[in-house]
Symmetry: C2
Subunit: 227 residues, 2 copies
């Protein structure tokens, strides 16, 4: 499903170049469950942004489902994203003036789902993450962990084939975090591909393979013992 | 230092009342190191906002350093905050158009520190959290964990007597998270009061006492074995 060949990403800030990814070679098959770990600043979110077509590499080739997506326009990338990819952002990226329900409906609006069906799916997704009693609340009226769960519901509501979850449990207590992991595991068992950035080894151990990043390079790859 | 007597907080949203804190009785002495844990939505950030004079209780009494601060004006609360309290927000609350350096200088500007001294202190604070090479970057040019560390530097730069850290390591890998904990422990050893919200028992175990919240109430209080 995902093939990266010597992908690089350099952020250019005026005179300064910040290398975030350096020579990434990576393959992820459909229906894999992969964790990505590494120190702060090692390139995890940058990698996720490229995998998820939110950004393009500076150099190298990225094939998604056999298609070279390295140099597509924003519109083309946006079209791929909306069809194939659910994204749980590290910073949630919720619309601050919209309710939780509206935020979760958003991918369905883009997908052209009719209003009644759309509302039903969004309510179900919010129930799944334990937020039935918060659907009319705006992000500013929610706790940190509740906002994170709205972001998770929004990523999952279209049942995308590829789910990218960047630190989806960082703001959650262990019990709630484990509930989220069970949702992600169920999606993987149902045939979807899941890539999870996490700092917690216990969560990475629940996936099939862990990729270790450091300073923009893949440092380690470990198959999980149980999978 | 901190005394709360039957403190309540109810958020009013049109017709809906959301009880976030219900009958909190709490005492924290000067120079204590206290952790607060609990499920998502249990009231931790709400409690921190009241302790830190960012919000007022709906009912009950809150005495800070012997002064009843339950019913002060915004200006009065702001004055107390700027003199006494450093806050690491769960959502960082960085100024998006300002550099990391500028963000960290902000409390010093409010405190009237001269420009040269201000810059020196801000650079030192950023070095302390491992961000020497990022001082001119804006929040959008930083990783999640780097933004969190800017927020930490900003909270500590005035060396406040009371430090409130709401999930300061949620976006950090274990090594970087432990470095932050060592900074907080050093501040406690230096005589300051530190209150830490965390989901991680390993981090709570490094403090002197852990308060467990659930549904807006204090459910448990445990002294740490090592302190
Ligand atoms: N501004 C607000 N308006 C309305 N309700 C709010 C507001 N802030 C918090 N709440 C509600 O109050 C309750 C407590 O929220 P709080 O942010 O204190 O929880 P928390 O323990 O910090 O949770 P988390 O671990 O998810 O950050 C939650 O049910 C939340 O939905
Ligand atoms: N928009 C940007 N502009 C400039 N530099 C950036 C930008 N985004 C990230 N960087 C830099 O690129 C490097 C990798 O960032 P990235 O966000 O991928 O790290 P990360 O592994 O996700 O870190 P964290 O665990 O802290 O979230 C960092 O050094 C960061 O400062
Ligand atoms: Mg990141
Ligand atoms: Mg909170």
């Amino acid at each position: 499903l995902i093939e990266m060949q010597q992908v690089e990403k350099v952020y250019r800030l005026g005179k300064i170049d910040v290398p975030a990814l350096c020579g990434i070679d990576l393959q992820i098959e459909a229906n894999e469950y992969v964790a990505v770990m590494g120190p702060s600043g090692s390139g995890k979110s940058t990698l996720m942004n490229i995998v998820g077509c939110l950004d393009s590499p500076t150099a190298g080739r990225y094939l998604l489902d056999g298609e070279n997506v390295s140099h597509l326009s924003d519109n083309q990338l946006s079209e791929i994203r909306s069809r194939k990819i659910g994204f749980v952002f590290q910073t949630f990226n919720l619309m601050p003036r919209a309710t939780a329900l509206r935020n979760v409906e958003l991918p369905l609006i883009y997908a052209g789902v009719p209003s009644g069906r759309r509302r039903q799916l969004a309510v179900q997704a919010l129930e799944k993450v334990g937020l039935s009693d918060r659907i009319k609340h705006k992000p500013s009226e929610l706790s940190g962990g509740q906002r994170q769960r709205v972001a998770i519901a929004r990523a999952l509501v279209t049942e995308p084939a590829l789910i990218l979850a960047d630190e989806p449990t960082g703001n959650l207590d262990s019990t709630t975090g484990q509930e989220i992991m069970e949702i992600l595991s169920a999606l993987h068992r149902a045939g979807n591909t899941v890539i999870l950035v996490t700092h917690e080894k216990e969560l990475a151990a629940q996936t099939g393979r862990t990729i270790g990043l450091r300073d923009g390079r893949i440092e380690t790859q470990e198959e999980a013992a149980q999978s």
